[in-house]
Amino acid sequence: MKLYEYMGKELFAKYGIPVPEGGVATTSEEAAALTEKIGSVVVKSQILSGKRGKAGGIGFTDNPSEAREFAGKLLGSELCGLIVEKVLVEKKLQIDKEFYLAITVDGAAKKPVILASAQGGMDIEDVPEEHIVKMPIDVTIGMQPFMTREAVRRLGVTGPVGKQIAAILLNLYKMFSELDAELVEINPLVISGEDVIAADAKVTIDDDALFRHKDLPVVEERTDAEKKAHDLGLSYVELDGNIAVMANGAGITMATLDLIQYYGGAAANFLDAGGGAGEEQTAKALELLLSKNPKAILINIFGGITRCDDVANAFASVKKNMGIPVPVVIRLVGTNEEKGRQILRDTGIETYEFMHEAAAKAVEIARGN
């Protein structure tokens, strides 16, 4: 779950990481009032996109009526495909230098990793490898003060600024681990005289750990259909084609999409039904698929933890109770496959053994109609 910049900064402040003086405005009046109070400010639209600056979502002023006007233009408008609901009005910083500082998960190392650079700012991706400090953290000992001193040394910083960066790093790791973050990123970390201030905040919380953080704000990035799918325990992404797809497992769903493309068709969605497949869930998944008016439905089930007879029973039952108004192509193998196929055969649904056969058939149907 990605957090908005202002939420990230609230957490930074809680963890002792300096952020600019400022506040959130949901109306242009509030933006003007904050500017009145703070003076020279930056007004930043709060959307979950890294491109808001280039898209005109950030502006500078020291004039309350200018702030009112700018905020008024942003609030409620669409920016990078997202609606701006809030702006952050913050004191404009005197920027002497911009650093980059982040902690994220390095999957290959199986460890959190500090990423830091003295060349922070917009184009951090393009900074050459040798100017990026990369220090993996052993989770059994966590971030110790000496590691922050070493990181600062490798950044080539000394004196009070170095001490502050070290302190920020210690707090950043505390936040990273206590909040089950996958990413805490400050870009830029601004050096302003002897002060070190987080001018931006990118914080992503591990969705799988949200059960431990009921006190965190909830940010919803999904479309309505995706949200519905998520509530059902399904992984769902909308696509542009006309063949609705449902499979069990991210890999096999991807492979099914690849096959549709291979045979010249286009998938309407990515739907990974995962492990379970009760009747109610199957019905709701079908509802989701039908909501996009596909030309055909392609189901690809390789039973492992999912049992084919359960899937078949669910389908048979949905077909009987609800009806399915478009052609369904089902591929069904794995645990209890014979039972499953028999059940579907009994209700008049034909099944395939190989997924490429099923995919080819689905593309044929979609094209034919």
């Binding site: 890294g50 980059y100 982040a102 994220t104 998960v105 999957g107 290959a108 199986k110 460890k111 959190p112 990793v113 990423l115 951090i124 991706e125 490898e129 990026i132 990369k134 989770v139 059994t140 681990s177 089950d180 996958e182 990413l183 990123e185 870009n187 990118k202 992503t204 591990d206 969705d207 799988d208 750990a209 059960f211 431990r212 069990n248 497992g249 991210a250 890999g251 096999i252 991807m254 492979a255 999409l257 690849d258 096959l259 549709i260 493309q261 291979y262 998938a267 990515f270 492990g275 390789f302 039973g303 492992g304 933890i305 193998v333 794995g334 645990t335 496959e337 190989f354 997924m355 490429h356």
Partner: protein, 290 residues
């Protein structure tokens, strides 16, 4: 000989009395796996088809030699169960659960490393030494003995590939599901290393997918260290580029992770890449004929 799991590997099932635990315990027993004990807190003293259930792993190890353990435990409690197994000296730990918090996964991997425990998963179907010992939830019928080693990031996609191989008359030596999470125990390189040494394995199939850099790292390793033929299948060619984890993700991946990049890296290591599952047996046939 085999790798990881053997004829006489004694297996514990953590969470055996639950719905999934009991179903798959029976499936594993049917496959021939030596399940010697189960653990379900509060259920100590019960039995499942004659297999004794204990309250704690330590209690089970008092009565049985435990070589490996499999977890049927809900994600929020998986870290505790994994720690329990590792601290009890289990040498192979198979972690089925998905949605384990990544910080828990990192903690598990750190502990496992310090104790010398091999972790498979999380978010895996398990692993199998075909015909000898299956620890996982994959359908029994596809895993027949043979000389193809299969290692996969994805679950059902791996069944798919193995199913295609089986249908074409190729059995498997060892099949390992690495697990689909960002932080998992065994990776491609670990398994390739073992399969290279394993006399039962003649050719290796890697089942990968877009995202991450595991395939690229494996390619680099294969170039230097693997003499046996390796072929790969990759899913995700049709997928739009995924969302990345901030700048940090970009810094770590450094351009890796795309379908084309992975194909290029694998080809450069002499690994042909199948685009569709049914091509895999054909490529194996070609490779083994050489």
């Amino acid at each position: 000989m085999a790798i990881y799991l053997f004829d006489d590997t004694q297996v514990l099932v953590q969470g055996m009395t639950g719905n999934q635990g009991s179903f798959h315990t029976r499936q594993m027993v049917k496959y021939g796996t030596k399940i010697v004990a189960g653990v379900s807190p509060g259920k100590g003293g019960q039995e499942l088809d004659g297999i004794p259930v204990y309250d704690t792993v330590a209690a089970a190890t008092e009565k049985h030699r435990i070589d490996a353990s499999i977890l049927f435990i809900p994600a929020p409690f998986a870290k505790d169960a994994a720690f329990e197994a590792i601290e009890a000296g289990v040498k192979v730990l198979v972690m089925l659960p998905e949605h384990i918090p990544v910080q828990d996964a990192m903690a598990i991997m750190a502990l496992a490393k310090s104790r010398g425990t091999i972790v498979v998963g999380p978010n895996t179907f398990g692993l199998v030494s075909s015909g000898k010992c299956k620890i996982g939830i994959m359908p029994n019928q596809f895993f027949v003995p043979g000389n193809i080693g299969v290692v996969s990031r994805s679950g059902t996609l791996c069944y798919e590939i193995v199913g295609n191989l089986t249908a074409a008359g190729y059995g498997t030596s060892t099949v390992v599901g690495l697990g689909g999470d960002r932080v998992v125990g065994l990776n491609f390189i670990d398994v390739l290393k073992e399969m290279e040494k394993d006399p039962e394995t003649e050719a290796i199939v890697m089942v990968g997918e877009i995202g991450g850099s595991a395939e690229e790292e494996a390619a680099e390793f294969i170039k230097q260290n693997i003499k046996k033929p390796v072929i790969a299948y990759l899913a995700g060619k049709s997928a739009p580029p995924g969302k990345r984890m901030g700048h940090a993700g970009a810094i770590i991946e450094r351009g890796k992770g795309t379908f084309d990049g992975k194909v290029k890296a694998l080809n450069a290591a002499g690994v042909p890449v199948a685009e569709l599952p049914f091509q895999v047996p054909e490529m194996i046939a070609k490779t083994l004929k050489k």
